[in-house]
Symmetry: C2
Subunit: 310 residues, 2 copies
């Protein structure tokens, strides 16, 4: 089934304790699409500038990703520079919106039949424009970040009402809910619209919370689900880990014949797996050499990590 991702395709400058890169292919849609491409057909809607190179586009097309929806605009591509001292939190050193500043996304006609829509982290006003154009999507998942939660909450609210699954991290969940207890925060966020919520805990995995009846959940206090993360010896670059989690999760889900509770759980494990690969190298580097065989071997490791004999 086809999965359409809307979000940024960009260039990043990144400094971590492991080193530094000046300008590498990045952006939420890029990381998401690469991770999802191991599971299903992926189409990107985004915008880049005249500086977007054929070599970088080939990173996407080599993984079978349809890039026809990436608009070319006059000017330069979105650029972000950040530094990680603590690997859980980036400090933004520079943000150049460039072509993103005037972007009005238009879904190409041949994309309108996409069953699965992912609204990657970007201005929620743009997320809503895309959602409106994709009225026929069977499932809509999305991401956001602290900046939009804080300064653009009024625009974010109608997006939340449109989502089947929202994926955010611990800090964002607490900020969005105004509540530090994770269970209470999850309940408040579910009341804002999403049918299910995945809260990502970095090296501690991710927890899914379900609204009543969503994805096979029963009762008002449906049991959450937790996917582990593999403790890693080295995190080279956390940039895109959350997008790669989302790509693994949603790519796997889109590849399944039915959206069952079991499929949702397995998808969470694949999300954790893809996040764990993403951080092993800078930018998109690890995804470029990754194989489905390596993915499935790590999936087995993750199962083993929490598996009890029956």
């Amino acid at each position: 089934m086809s999965l359409l991702v809307f979000g940024t395709v960009a260039y990043d400058g990144i400094t971590t304790p492991s080193g530094s890169v000046d300008r590498v292919l990045g952006g939420a849609a890029t990381h998401f699409a690469l991770a999802a491409s191991f599971f299903t057909d992926v189409r990107i809607v985004s915008v880049v500038g005249e500086d977007f190179s054929a070599e970088d586009e080939a990173v996407l097309t080599a993984r079978g990703i349809d890039t026809a929806g990436i608009e070319r605009a006059a000017g330069k591509s979105f650029f972000w520079r950040g530094e990680y001292e603590d690997l859980n939190q980036a400090t933004t050193l520079d943000t150049q919106l460039n072509v993103l500043a005037t972007f009005a996304p238009k879904i190409p006609p041949q994309y309108l039949d996409s069953d699965f829509l992912f609204l990657a982290n970007i201005d929620p006003a743009l997320q809503l424009q895309v959602r409106r154009q994709m009225a026929a999507a069977r499932l809509v998942c999305g991401d956001t970040m602290n900046y939009w939660i804080g300064a653009h909450r009024a625009n974010l609210q109608p997006v939340l009402r449109e989502l089947d699954v929202l994926l955010i991290n611990d800090g964002e969940a607490k900020m969005l809910a105004g509540e530090t207890n994770l269970v209470l925060a999850a309940n408040r966020i579910l009341a804002m619209g999403p049918r299910a919520l995945i809260i990502k805990h970095g090296e501690f995995g991710a927890t899914a919370f379900f609204g009543e009846g969503s994805f096979g959940a029963a009762g008002t206090n449906a049991l959450p689900f937790r996917a582990p993360a593999l403790p890693l010896r080295e995190v080279v670059d956390p940039t895109g880990a959350g997008d790669s989690f989302a790509g693994g999760f949603y790519g796997y889900l889109a590849s399944q014949p039915q959206l069952t509770a079991a499929a949702f759980r397995t998808a969470m494990f694949y999300g954790s797996v893809m996040g764990s690969f993403a951080v092993e190298k800078f930018g998109t580097e690890r995804m470029q050499t990754l194989t489905r065989q390596q993915i499935d071997a790590r999936f087995q490791l993750f199962r083993e990590l929490t598996h009890l004999e029956p």
Copy 2:
């Protein structure tokens, strides 16, 4: 099989966002023993003062715990007062060592046949004295805390060399190892002596790391194991959560015919289960009404929490 725990039996004054208690039964050995008592025979070696009440002793004996090894000394029992603003970290407001200041632990002769020894969090010099008297123990597990890691490291080192399993939390592990990456920290700590290490992550569960060949682990990079924790709607009092985890873990392990990798994993889940009950009420209150049936029902919930269909 008999499990001997050495540690504090004390009174606590506790303030949390849920309320406050002036003086309740506490101490690491108390919390450990109560949790372990649901799985195996438990004996305590400790010291209390003349203020230790028959009613509080009955909390232990009602659970079948052997209290003959709790020495009565002139003076008052150990007293701790603390406050939790953030539920992950207590601020100590008052510590009165009282009878603990001059304590020289002596193992009663009838306890010397205990197969399993737990050295709860206390001065490592005392932990070592007890270890020396219990030379025949089949398995020795222990706990410590930031105070001993910082100011008494020379005394802690010989204790670490005696341990089969060390149980500590994230912050303590990073402090002990002088390393913030969890995998590298675990490797450094395993090199200090323990055959296995359980690092507790609070609401995110706990991870076990294994030295080569320990508990069925194969190879120098034996796969760790992660037990989840149930996301809780309310944490009333975190005091004793770690001790209760240790009691559930070790109590279950001591009840098993063989110390296999599978038994170790199941024990970790029971540890998480007992920790999750402990925080539901102040002090020892929840343990006093808990049943094995409730424990096993929650154990099934924890399995379900991370379970994938085969």
